[in-house]
Symmetry: C2
């Protein structure tokens, strides 16, 4: 099977090419490039992510899970900007043609495409060590885009869902020794939260034009809060007791839970700041089923501060995951 046959067999067809708004895709797979038509008042939003074996996912995995995760984590960046997904490209580097692997990967990818309403529009398939590059394209009105910059003292700090599931889910995915308290259902829930994170696009669309700043939690709550605080030139105060935590996470002792909730990463929930004038949105979002929780306030100053009920502690030293960070002496 050559490259063109491989693309045709696994990646062409309505499951991937018509998973989203096909009206916006003027030209999809099969030419030198794809053509996308944003709405007249919208701009194009673009983000790229790559997944590498061992770094971004464990050695033991289901190809379908990997396909899902590769797309969902990339789409999460669109959600963070308040953008609507349109299309994505896939740069797939594979050591060999393994038809079972490809069928599974394509199936998971198609499920993620359907769940996030985004169409595969192009890509590149090459031979080499496994590497999955996904570039997502969305649209947003420039005046409504949610950036990391823009948080103002007095704004509320909010999160869009439970924290720590990504870190715990990775432990489950790695097959690490787990708490005996963890039920089978809890284990399934956490594995799914790691392998099949659902990017919060619907919430992101609600935040567009309303949130003063936003980011998705991928490096860890404190690290991503730090990115937002730095970009906005403010300090964030976060109340530990108010951070939402899933029932499954209760199976672990407090210290482990805290580590994952604050620094685990891979949660792919939105972290955003909300002007007090828009506080009524919280009730609207709750009525729509969004699990938004107010977890702190924006204040003048800099850095991320954790209120643990006793004192306010500066948390800037907890930097979150960075590639290459372990290669130098700093």
């Amino acid at each position: 099977m050559g490259e063109f046959e491989l693309i045709h067999r696994y990646f062409q067809g309505p499951a991937l090419e018509a998973a989203g708004d096909v009206e916006a895709i003027t030209l999809g797979i099969g030419d030198d490039a794809a053509l996308l038509q944003p709405d007249p008042d919208k701009q194009c939003v673009v983000s790229t992510d790559s997944l590498v074996l061992g770094t971004h996912f464990p050695e033991h995995y289901l190809p379908a899970d990997l396909g899902y995760r590769a797309l969902a984590v990339a789409v999460s960046d669109l959600a963070a900007m308040g953008a609507r997904p349109l299309g994505f490209t896939l740069a797939l580097t594979l050591p060999q043609v393994d038809e079972d692997w490809l069928a599974g990967f394509a199936q998971g990818l198609a499920q993620a495409a359907e769940d996030h309403r985004i169409c595969l529009v192009g890509g590149d398939t090459t031979r080499g060590p496994l590497n999955i590059g996904v570039t997502v394209i969305g649209q947003v009105a420039a005046r409504k885009v949610v950036r990391r910059k823009g948080a103002q003292p007095g704004d509320l700090v909010c999160v869009g869902g439970p924290l720590g599931d990504g870190g715990a889910g990775l432990a489950v995915a790695l097959g690490e020794t787990l708490s005996e308290q963890l039920s089978d259902a809890g284990r399934d829930y956490l594995a799914k939260r790691f392998w099949r994170p659902r990017a919060q696009c619907d919430l992101g669309l609600e935040l567009a034009g309303i949130a003063s700043a936003g980011i998705d939690v991928s490096d860890g709550l404190l690290a991503d809060a730090g990115h937002l605080a730095r970009a906005s030139g403010v300090a964030l105060h976060v109340r530990y007791a108010d951070l939402p935590c899933s029932p499954a996470l209760q199976a672990w002792p407090e210290a482990q839970r805290r580590e994952w909730m604050l620094g685990g990463g891979d949660d792919y929930v939105l972290l955003f700041t909300l002007p007090v004038a828009s506080i009524s949105c919280l009730d609207v979002w709750a009525s729509q089923g969004f699990q938004v929780r107010v977890v702190g306030e924006v204040v003048a100053g800099q850095g991320v501060w954790l209120d643990d009920g006793q004192q306010l502690v500066n948390m800037d030293s907890l930097a979150g995951y960075q590639h290459f960070k372990d290669t130098t002496d700093d």
Copy 2:
């Protein structure tokens, strides 16, 4: 050095971020995604390419050459569509932080960005076996886009520059035993044609709205002509004697030259079809310095046929380079 410091040190700054039309980049590197504003009457054109060591480039290389080539070959897909480059993202997977490598790579990348007037708008840097993913975004008016589909019987078949240099350039880059006829200047020219191909964006912009179909020659002339013929539902007749050939290529015997010109690939010149009604464009383009040559005609039928002066031979068996093609029995 962590990931953020690496990005800041090598990939942020005007050399890469302001190499093109900065007006179109509403938001560049540093947020969850970039924001691009195409002109009101234009659509977004998107294409992805990845480069893998050993598959796309030889083991021995200069990082600056690799940086140039990675971007230029991706931009060539925009040229083929008649699109103007706007921005690109870089998904860079590296085995380790090598500051000399990074400085060289970024310098070559910046040179390619300047030559093609395109801005770096985002990306992702991760640890793993070397893999370079580039996604380019351009713009074109939907009614003017040049597709593989659209060639009509009677149209002229044209190429935008010399053929075979990519194949010969790869031989030079690989340090293969070369013809004694090849001068130092010829060797430098061919190495540059392989490592620093210049995507024909300016020609592509001229072709927008005029060429009936087009593609860039990356897999080899006959293979890419085959893609165009299939997409258009026509046959292409190509006259071998009319194919343009650089002086450097004359250093090789006819058989080798012919192999590279017809099947070598990596030329990154445009192959397009021109309605006879637009034949006067040829003089205009020549006066502008474009080296467009008429090399054949579109006829009813299918496949690619080579007129070698004696007879017309069907060339569909010469399929061009495909990844994974050697892994099966077909």
